[in-house]
Amino acid sequence: MTQYEDLDDARLRRLAEQLGTAAAERLDVEATARGVLARLRRETRAPARPWWPAPAWLRAAAAAAAVVGLGVAGALVRGAAHRARAGDELAAPAGAELRELSADQLRELLETVSEPAAPGAPAAAALVATQDVGLDDLAVPQLRDLLQSLEG
């Protein structure tokens, strides 16, 4: 390494040491410390975020997909039960109307469908309910009633 390069290195280091010094001196360290503490306190108070911190639009899309899935499943079950006389009514899938709903409406609908069907409801009521609730939500007697009705 030449003497010229050595001098250049020293100059570069001096410049680097000074870079940002004035801006750092103007930083209000006490205000910064207060700001950091305030943010830490807010984070401590804030409820824990879900393990799937998806953006709002993604959660809305997932909710819509779930509702559409439930609707289609319900339509298929009901279609099988009433295929001889209700074919025309089921021509338009349940999802078609759902696509026109806003995210808030979909969320509200999802909350509604998560309510389980009333225990001990008759088979007809269970059939109607399958359009609005998932099969997982049905009790064993309701599932049995549903199967019996499909068998005719």
Binding site: D8, R11, L12, T21, A23, A24, E25, A31, V36
Partner: protein, 183 residues
Amino acid sequence: MPDAQPAAAAPTDAALIAAYRGGDEQAAAALVRRHARALARFLAAAGGAEAELDDLVQETFVRAFRALGRFRGDCQFRTWLLTIGGNVLKDAQRRARRTRLVPLDEGVRSADGDPHERAVAAEAAARLAAGLARLPPMQRNVFLLRAQQGLEYAEIAAALGTTPGAARVHYHHAVKRLKEYVA
């Protein structure tokens, strides 16, 4: 028995970290007071705009306190903090979609010397800042940790997850490129 009690030694970073993790938030404030200026100097040199410096410093400390459980003490707390600051700045610059440079008169703001010398020094500092902004992040961080913060290669390597030899190579590449801007 002496009249005056000996001055209590300042608590170490490790002691403050342990105190904060034990629920003493004033320990966090003490860590901020101790390291904020060095962090601000690093961030300003790496391209952080002065108007955003306070936000960048705060964000760096908050991320560091969140991640304290992952700090193993392989390097100094300050070195670890500076590397987090480098990531915070990179994220901010990505969001801003532009690289900000240190103002022309930044860094060499001295009342000493004649105006011509000050202007020449300010111009060199501006060229250095521009050069730093063009370096790959690893080279820039290694250069600043070494040349600005005066850290050893082993310490830099531990903080950046590389080897001292690799850190030395990054430093020399950075110097070579920066000389083209500053000379």
